[in-house]
Amino acid sequence: MLAAYIHAVATDDPGAEEPAGTRERLKDRFPRGATRRMTQLGLLMGAVLDPLRLTEMDTVVYASEFAESRALEGFLDSFPSASPTLFQTSIHPSAVQQWLIQRQQAVRTFFPMTGGPHLVAQALQVALLADTPRSIFCGGDERGTWLLEAGAASMRTFAFALALSRDPLGAMGEIKLAPSDHASGDLSLQRFFDALQGRESLALSPTAGLWLTLDWR
């Protein structure tokens, strides 16, 4: 069984807020002028990672199903005069990089992941197998426009980050992944985000062969 204690959680649920609204809401949390170059998901990832005070020795696991949907739309729209800025911004895992580069915060081990209904289980497994004292499991997506109409972007914008370690002292919760006989299961990134935001306990199969429990203190 893989397990870790939760020491910090941060979430941001902007609802229907457009990127400009997010930029205005969060501008005081970033250096002056920095937000102009950041995507909505980049702003949100920065907002949720900031309180966790990352260090170089943290393992960072970032999960996103669709990642930089708005930048991707913009880059695809820019052809035949392809935009170099939107190209580099559209590449996974730009959202986390935007914030870390702004902070000049090196990270030795960074696992950007993507996937569908089993992404939470897979990313948690990576975070729980990390060889550093602390793992940061973060994730999110941003609502698309024309890619959403095409079914190729998230319907919802959200971001989360949680700090995990083996130290029970001062923990606010615990998360476990245990082997199970379940032949199927799923846990979407959005569902996991809702559980974190509402401090909701979970006990379910997030993918075949595993059982996840999330408990709060």
């Binding site: 880059f75 935009s83 696992f111 190729a152």
Partner: protein, 371 residues
Amino acid sequence: MALVSPTPSVYLAAYGCLTAFGNASATYAALCNGERALTLQPALGNRGGDAVPLALCRGRALDETAPPNWLPYVQELVTTLPAGDWGSPRRPVFVTSSNFGVGSLYAYRQTRERVHLDYGTPSSCVDWLRRELGWGENVSTFSHACVSAHLGFLQATRALHAGLADEALVFSFDFLSPFVAGGFNALKILNSEFPAPYENRASGSIGLGDGAAYAVLTRERSELQITAQALHNEMHHFTANQADGAGFAACIQQIMPAVGGRRLWAKGHGTGTLEAGRLEVAALEQAFPAAPLVSWKGSLGHTLGSCGAVELAIAAECLKGEYIPGTVGSHAPGFSATVAFDPLPGRAFDGVVCTSNAFGGAHAALLLSHE
């Protein structure tokens, strides 16, 4: 999670790759002969654009089709994969890519034909590929631009040593499209010049290539082993490295304790850009002053997220073969005397340090050696 400890060894039970030259042995032979797969082609395929150096699989067009026209090439590659219930609970698959099927989104944007949408997002592309290849659902996906494959190797190693897997398959692919060729062309580093990695010339440039590869990792002893693995992310700039090369050194230094008395050569990232090339050469020379350095991207092009796996397969061929291909497409003077332009005698060495770099100052390295 524990205190940071050296990455344990893992064995390379099987490997294979696909490049514009064909499979691993064909690619190895072509590189030993100094052949260059890159040719000048329009960056936007049938929509034209600048002529840039691209190396596509034989007979494949850059323009997207539905389903993607690279599927038969992947299917051919996996025929050489050891049979088994890949994607089952004990035999996980770690898929790594930078672009997945994003070329299909470009095709959709250009044509509005919804048939392309089935392959456009990373998850839809991998799920489609998984079903086409007959794999189960235990498929994790990593995407970190050009160090993607190394993440798959590291997580597969951890899963094996945690007792979560009997064997692990790392599968990596990146096939070119107008999306990616247009993007790098917009960054100006993909232009009409052929790349010349580590060559001391006035301007740098890269080429791009199709690539796919697999590695089956196990704890069971076999001829070749991945003795050490390392990652480091500078987070200094999206498209530039720290000027003192500290990011390169921080990654490479993690490998050094595992070297022992091995006689090493180095397979660098070496895309053909000048600044990163100089920094990489300096860092490798400082860490491994006796190790000759080669890059193969002047021939194969940069195979992006698959490059770490493609070049691992070729490096494995080198460790079994008579020669190590030199830095094809480049000529003296190099950035350092350690740069090898011509083939090296394989028997003079018993291990290779393989490095990859990516956007954001991401670095990855591994040591592949005889058991």
